[in-house]
C-alpha cells in the first residue's frame, strides 16, 4: 500500500491554463496540498522604469499594455492620475465614454473568465459558448475604438473618439443579445448540479481572512466584503450612474462565479444608462505636454479588483515616478491560503477563480515541498487533467453536460 509521502511538484513556468509563465511549488502529502509557494517575476518587464524615460504620451501606450485583458483599466487609472495633477477638466461626455469602454471591458473579461473556469474543470463546452458570445462585445469594442484590445481611447483631457448615433444603437443591440445569453449562464449556474457541486466548498476564504490578506474584486466580494471602487471612491462617470455592488456570502469559487455573473448583469445596466444619458459636449480639453509638479493616487475597479496607480510629476514632460499595483497582486496571498489543506485536483479552478492576471502582477508561483520527497516537475495541463479525472472518479463528470449544453441556439 502506497504511503502518502510529502513530495514536491513544480508547476510551470509553462502554464497553458493561465496563459502566462508562472511557477507554482506545491508541498503535497498524498493528494493534499500542505503549502503553496508563489514565485513571481516572469512577466516583469521594467515598465515603471521605462515610464520615467518616456513622455506622458508615450507612457500612456506603454501602460495600456501592462495587461491585455484589462488594458483600459490601466490606461484610465494612469490618465486620471495625470489629469488630477495637471488639473485638466475632463468633459462629462468623455467621462461617460470612458465608463462605457470600461464596462464593455468588464463584460469581455468576465465572459473570458467564465470560459477559462469551464476549461479548468473540464466543462469545455462552456468555454466555446462564452468565448463565442464574447465576440459580440469584442466587435463592439472594435467598432467604438478601432481595436479589439488596447483600445487607445484615452488621451490626456478626454477621449480620442466620439460615439455616433448608429454606434449607440449597435451597442444597445449587442448588450441585448449578451444579456439574453448571460441569463442562460446564470440559469445553468443556478440549476446545473454538476457545476454547483464542482464549485461549491472549493477555494474557501473566510471573510476575516479576505480582509486580513487584502483580497480585492470579485474574490473579496464573494466573501461578503462589499467593496467596489466604483462606489467607494468613484471615478469617471460612476458617481452619477445607479448600479448595485454584487456580493455573495458563499466565500467559495461558486460564490465568485455568481458574483461575476451578477456583475455582468449590472454592467449591461450601466452601459444602457450611459448610452441613454450620454451628455453632449466636447470629448476632450486641450492638454499641455508638461505636467506641473505634484502627485496623485488613482484607484479603479478593474474586472479583477482594485487597480492602483500613483504618479509623481516634476514639471517636465516625463513623470518622476509611476507606481502600479494591479489587482491580482493583492489576491495572491489569499490564493495560497485558500489552497492549504485542499486537494491538488482543486488547484486549477481555485487559482483561476481569482482570475489571475499574472501579466499585471508578473507573478510566478512556486510550490516548495518540505518533506523527504523527490521533486517532480509537471505542467499545469497535467494538474488540470488530474483534477478533471479525480473529480470524475468522485462523481463529478462533465462529459454529459459537454455533450448537451446549448446556449442561445434558437437565436
Amino acid at each position: 500500500m502506497h504511503e502518502p509521502e510529502n513530495f514536491q511538484i513544480l508547476i510551470g513556468p509553462q502554464h497553458p491554463a493561465l496563459k502566462e509563465p508562472t511557477s507554482f511549488t506545491l508541498t503535497l502529502q498524498g493528494e493534499k496540498i500542505l503549502q503553496m509557494g508563489v514565485r513571481l517575476g516572469y512577466n516583469h518587464r521594467g515598465i515603471e522604469k521605462a515610464c520615467e524615460d518616456r513622455t506622458y504620451v508615450q507612457g500612456l501606450y506603454l501602460i495600456e499594455r501592462i495587461c491585455g485583458i484589462c488594458s483600459h483599466s490601466h490606461s484610465t487609472a494612469f490618465v486620471q492620475a495625470v489629469e488630477e495633477i495637471a488639473a485638466f477638466q475632463v468633459p462629462k461626455r468623455a467621462q461617460y465614454i470612458r465608463t462605457l469602454v470600461a464596462e464593455l471591458e468588464r463584460v469581455h473579461s468576465h465572459l473570458l473568465w467564465l470560459g477559462v473556469a469551464g476549461h479548468e474543470i473540464g466543462f469545455d463546452t462552456l468555454l466555446m459558448y462564452t468565448w463565442r458570445d464574447r465576440e459580440i462585445v469584442m466587435d463592439l469594442l472594435a467598432m467604438l475604438t478601432g481595436n479589439r484590445v488596447n483600445y487607445g481611447i484615452n488621451t490626456y483631457g478626454g477621449v480620442r473618439r466620439d460615439i455616433t448615433t448608429e454606434q449607440k444603437q449597435e451597442v444597445l443591440k449587442g448588450i441585448d443579445a449578451l444579456e439574453e445569453r448571460t441569463k442562460y449562464y446564470v440559469q445553468v449556474a443556478s440549476e446545473e448540479i454538476t457545476l454547483i457541486n464542482r464549485l461549491s466548498g472549493v477555494g474557501v476564504l473566510a471573510r476575516d481572512d479576505a480582509l486580513r490578506l487584502g483580497a480585492v474584486g470579485p474574490t473579496a466580494r464573494a466573501c461578503g466584503v462589499k467593496r467596489d471602487i466604483r462606489k467607494d471612491d468613484p471615478y469617471a462617470a460612476y458617481g452619477e450612474i445607479p448600479f448595485d455592488v454584487v456580493t455573495s456570502d458563499r466565500s467559495d469559487v461558486y460564490g465568485r462565479t455568481l458574483v461575476r455573473l451578477g456583475e455582468l448583469m449590472e454592467s449591461y445596466k450601466i452601459v444602457r444608462h450611459v448610452i441613454h444619458n450620454l451628455p453632449d459636449g466636447p470629448i476632450a480639453v486641450k492638454a499641455s505636454r508638461k505636467v506641473p509638479s505634484g502627485e496623485a493616487l488613482s484607484r479603479y475597479e478593474a474586472p479583477r479588483g482594485e487597480n492602483v496607480h500613483y504618479v509623481r510629476a516634476n514639471g517636465t514632460d516625463k513623470p518622476e515616478r509611476v507606481k502600479v499595483r494591479a489587482p491580482t497582486l493583492a489576491n495572491v496571498q489569499a490564493v495560497a491560503h485558500m489552497l492549504k489543506d485542499r486537494y491538488l485536483a482543486d488547484m486549477p479552478i481555485v487559482v483561476a477563480a481569482i482570475d489571475p492576471c499574472f501579466s499585471c502582477t508578473d507573478r510566478l508561483i512556486a510550490v516548495a515541498d518540505g518533506g523527504p520527497g523527490r521533486p517532480d516537475i509537471i505542467t499545469w495541463e497535467q494538474v488540470r487533467q488530474h483534477g478533471v479525472e479525480w473529480h470524475r472518479r468522485h462523481g463529478i463528470d462533465f462529459t454529459e453536460l459537454n455533450r448537451t449544453f446549448r446556449c442561445g441556439e434558437s437565436k
Binding site: 513556468p13 509553462q14 502554464h15 497553458p16 496563459k19 502566462e20 509563465p21 517575476g41 516572469y42 512577466n43 516583469h44 518587464r45 521594467g46 515598465i47 522604469k49 521605462a50 501606450y61 506603454l62 499594455r65 501592462i66 495587461c67 491585455g68 485583458i69 488594458s71 473570458l112 468555454l127 466555446m128 468565448w131 463565442r132 465576440e135 481595436n147 479589439r148 484590445v149 488596447n150 492576471c357 501579466s359 510566478l364 505542467t379 495541463e381 497535467q382
Partner: protein, 154 residues
C-alpha cells in the same frame, strides 16, 4: 529517407501540432491565439491542434517580449521539440519587443533567442491575422515539399 520526409511533411502540413508559449506577454496575444481556436475563427479546421508539451509539437507559437527570467526556459522548450520544428512570433512584442523594447528586463523579440519562421504583427495580433500567418507557414511547408518532390523528379 526522402519518402519519410514527404510523409512527415504531409502529416505536418495536414495537422500541425502547436505549442503556445508566453515569454512575458501582456496576455492580449495569448487570448487571441486561444480565440483563434474557438468556433468563430476555428483554427482547428486547418487541422491545427494545441498541445501541452514540446515533445509533440511541430510549431512553437510565441507571444511576448522575452524577459530575462523566461529566456532560458524558452530555449529549453525549443530544444525539446523534435525536428523539424518552426517558431512563429505572434504579436508586435514577439516580433521586435514592441513597446517594451529597451526595457531593462526584456531581450526584445523572439528572434533574439530563436530562429523565427513567421512573424505575425499586431497589438494584439488578431485571430484572423494569426490564422493567416499559420496558414502561410503551412503553405510554405507545402511548397518546400513540392520543390523537393520536383527535385527528385517525382
Amino acid at each position: 529517407m526522402a519518402l519519410i520526409n514527404r510523409i512527415v511533411t504531409w502529416a505536418r502540413v495536414r495537422s500541425p501540432w502547436i505549442l503556445h508559449f508566453n515569454t512575458g506577454a501582456c496576455n492580449a496575444c495569448d487570448i487571441e491565439i486561444i480565440a483563434a481556436l474557438t468556433p468563430q475563427y476555428d483554427l482547428e479546421r486547418f487541422g491545427v491542434l494545441l498541445k501541452g508539451t514540446p515533445r509533440h509539437a511541430d510549431v512553437l507559437l510565441c507571444s511576448g517580449p522575452v524577459t530575462r527570467q523566461i529566456k532560458d526556459c524558452l530555449v529549453r522548450i525549443y530544444e525539446q521539440m523534435p525536428q523539424p520544428k518552426f517558431v512563429v512570433a505572434v504579436g508586435t512584442c514577439a516580433c521586435s519587443g514592441g513597446v517594451f523594447k529597451g526595457c531593462y528586463n526584456v531581450t526584445g523579440g523572439i528572434d533574439t533567442m530563436l530562429p523565427v519562421s513567421a512573424y505575425i504583427p499586431g497589438c494584439p495580433a488578431s485571430p484572423t491575422a494569426i490564422i493567416d500567418g499559420v496558414v502561410k507557414l503551412l503553405r510554405s511547408l507545402e511548397q518546400s515539399e513540392q520543390q523537393s518532390k520536383s527535385a527528385v523528379g517525382v
